[in-house]
């Protein structure tokens, strides 16, 4: 089956060729109809910029400098401004990472929802209001009919996030890009919201790109997973494959730095040492090498390409085959 979204060789840069940040650097992936792709990775690795570029919301000094984005046979990057505005919100919708910057502080919550229903669906008056109430209760806002007249600052962080989800799914998009959609929420609500997203997917085949830092959330939600580092996808594959036997030392590091509820006696987390460097300039080396426990000379000379390491599993590491042995990551070893 043809994927609904095909991204190939996407490059987004902030600034010029030499000193600009290569926020997204040759990224390729697909998302099938109704499928969930989990995107995880370091702060600054390019997850949000990737998401934003899919609906052409990259603002200056950033711009797309290469690659293509095909949405259901249409070239997103070639669309006119009015065409992309039509796609945005109705066919591809995005839940933004920072709900305070994406809700209008001077408009009531009710107005912000009815506005999108009006613009995108031509819904007005009582019908739009009834639908707004329905959407707010769908995302678990208590007494929604009484909260329509409230402003964003009357809501707690988590409630604003739920309002954002209500707005994003108002027009039943075919692809939803959810950038950290449950980060501010209590886990019982998170479980409900992830359920809501799953139901929306089942109901009308919505595909989902789920950007999150919570490996537990992707473990439970994603069919496939893409791990980003320094603007690149460094590991990609079925969720089961990647968790069972990660082949990129960065992914191993992520798993080891996550506190786990089922391991109450873990004394200290094992973070990845060092800091991520901003991806500036041409990388003819592995950007993770300075933080990697198994890096060799080769890693500093040559950028490892993202390559197939086993069925349904790709990794960008020169030593992907040796990772399980060198980092002791057979599933028992990780569990210890």
């Amino acid at each position: 089956m043809k994927p609904i979204l095909t991204v190939s060789g996407l490059k987004v840069r902030f600034g010029n060729e030499q000193s600009g940040v290569r926020a997204v650097d040759d990224v390729s992936f697909t998302v099938g109809k109704g499928e969930t792709l989990g995107v995880v990775g370091e702060s600054g690795s390019g997850k949000s910029v990737t998401g934003l570029s899919l609906i052409r919301l990259i603002s200056k000094p950033g711009r797309v400098v290469g690659g293509s984005i095909d949405f259901d046979g249409r070239d997103i990057l070639a669309m006119s401004d009015s065409e992309i505005r039509d796609v945005r919100g109705r066919e591809i919708s995005m839940i933004f990472q920072d709900p305070m910057t994406s809700l209008n502080p001077v408009l009531t919550i009710g107005r912000q929802i009815t506005e999108i229903l009006e613009v995108q669906e031509g819904m007005r008056g009582g019908r739009a209001k009834a639908r707004a109430i329905e959407l707010l209760s769908l995302v678990g806002i208590p007494s929604p009919e009484r909260r329509l007249g409230d402003y964003p600052h009357h809501f707690s962080g988590g409630m604003r996030q739920r309002v954002m989800i209500a707005i994003a799914v108002a027009c039943k998009p075919r692809l939803l890009i959810a950038d950290e959609p449950t980060t501010a929420l209590d886990v019982t609500i998170q479980a409900q919201i992830l359920d809501i997203l799953k139901n929306l997917q089942r109901e009308f085949g919505m595909a989902l790109i789920l950007i999150t830092h919570d490996l537990g959330v992707v473990a439970g939600m994603a069919d496939r997973i893409a791990v980003m580092y320094g603007g690149r996808i460094v590991e990609q594959g079925s969720t089961d494959c990647v968790f069972e036997e990660p082949r990129m030392p960065y992914t191993v590091g992520l798993l080891r730095s996550t506190p786990r509820l089922d391991r109450p006696d873990e004394d200290r987390l094992t973070p990845i040492r060092g800091l991520p460097a901003e991806p500036v300039g041409q990388a003819n080396f592995c950007r993770f090498a300075p933080r990697c426990d198994i890096a060799q000379q080769l890693c500093l000379r040559e950028a490892p390409p993202l390559r197939q390491v086993r069925p349904d599993h790709m990794a960008a590491c020169h030593f992907a085959e040796d990772v399980p042995t060198l980092l002791h990551t057979s599933s028992e070893a990780i569990a210890l």
């Binding site: 702060s43 209590d186 473990a219 730095s257 996550t258 089922d262 094992t270």
Partner: protein, 343 residues
């Protein structure tokens, strides 16, 4: 005034923080009241990390802000080192303010976009006269930046040039600049991805050991709270549902809300996730404008009985005495709900 025992750095006693809200446009004229914090008492012990966890909107930030005197208190009291914050003199207050710092939930909102990072960190140092002379201030800023794992060369950069994790480190550096005793950490790691989260958690633990800090650590992540806390308080809709030693609360939770929370925490293993049984909460989320009478959790509680809707349960100690839960059925809870649904 209630005096705190010496090992307590702060005591919160029957705290109420209510917010008047404009009446919703369709209904009536009488303004409503959000009882954001409605009768909360707990102590914070010197040198400990007290984890504060609970639903969005349950009042965690409001408590944090009340401790920092950023929210007016409706009733009750908060004392710091035995001094009641409400009755201290302005001069004493100014000193106290420096010793209680906040690391914000939202690193974007906490930094002035037009102020370089160096200036942002230097500001409290100047304000409280903690270093004299430009050179000493600059040295201190550099020291603080490296203390939180950022290159001193970042001084001249502006907040928008940083990613979320870096901004949070800047927030920590800014708080540390004041040389505080107590830091209210309001969701300091929730916006960060895991490798950075682990560094910040380790950083906070190291700083605590090194500088003798006390933390009130607010988070919604039960795994992080388990990892970092000595004691844990679970809040629900303006009240404490359960509080106690970390081990006791996690291994032997006696409130149905705590049990539901633990069952809902995602675990980074697809096989474990597929095999898990969750306590799925049904029922209406109560509105803080109109909370249920009786137990606040009654509308969603899987084991509620008629009495629960009538009378609010008090916090009662567990058999071991190392935790307290506010549930009428806590003594029979093991027969009613799974303890921990990780496997």
């Amino acid at each position: 005034m209630r005096t705190a025992p010496p090992e307590m750095i702060a005591s919160i006693s029957d705290l109420h923080v209510h917010f008047p809200v404009r009446s919703p446009f369709l209904f009536g004229k009488s303004p409503g009241v959000v009882k954001a914090v409605d009768g909360v008492s707990f102590d914070i012990r010197r040198g400990e990390t007290l984890g504060l966890v609970g639903e969005s909107g349950c009042g965690k930030t409001t408590i944090g802000r009340a401790i920092l005197q950023l929210n007016a208190i409706t009733s009750g009291s908060i004392s710091f080192n035995g001094e009641d914050l409400a009755t201290s003199s302005p001069e004493a207050m100014r000193k106290l303010r420096r010793r209680i710092q906040l690391i914000f939930q939202d690193p974007y909102a906490s930094l002035n976009p037009r102020m370089s990072v160096g200036r942002a960190i230097a500001e409290p140092i100047r304000l409280h006269n903690l270093r004299q002379g430009e050179a000493a201030i600059t040295d201190r800023v550099k020291e603080l930046l490296s203390l939180v794992g950022l290159a001193p060369t970042y001084m001249s950069r502006y907040p928008h040039e940083f990613s979320g994790g870096q901004r949070q480190r800047i927030g920590i550096a800014r708080a540390l600049a004041c040389e505080p005793d107590l830091i209210v950490c309001d969701e300091p790691v929730s916006a960060l991805d895991v490798s950075v989260q682990a560094q910040v958690v380790n950083l906070l633990q190291d700083l605590q050991a090194r500088l003798g800090l006390t933390y009130l650590f607010i988070a919604h992540g039960l795994s992080v709270i388990q990892h970092i806390s000595n004691r844990v308080a679970v809040m629900y809709l303006g009240r404490v549902a359960e509080i106690g030693e970390r081990r006791e609360v996690y291994a032997n939770p006696r409130h149905p809300y705590t049990r539901s929370l633990l069952s809902a925490v995602p675990i980074p293993d697809p096989k474990v996730e597929r095999a898990r049984r969750r306590i799925v909460l049904q029922g209406e989320l109560p509105s803080p404008l109109n909370p249920p009478k009786g137990c606040r959790f009654v509308t969603r509680c899987p084991i509620a009985v008629a009495h629960c809707a009538q009378e609010a349960p008090p916090l009662t100690p567990s058999a071991s005495g190392s935790s307290m839960a506010a549930c009428w059925r806590s003594s029979e809870i093991d027969d009613l709900l799974p303890r921990f649904a990780a496997t």
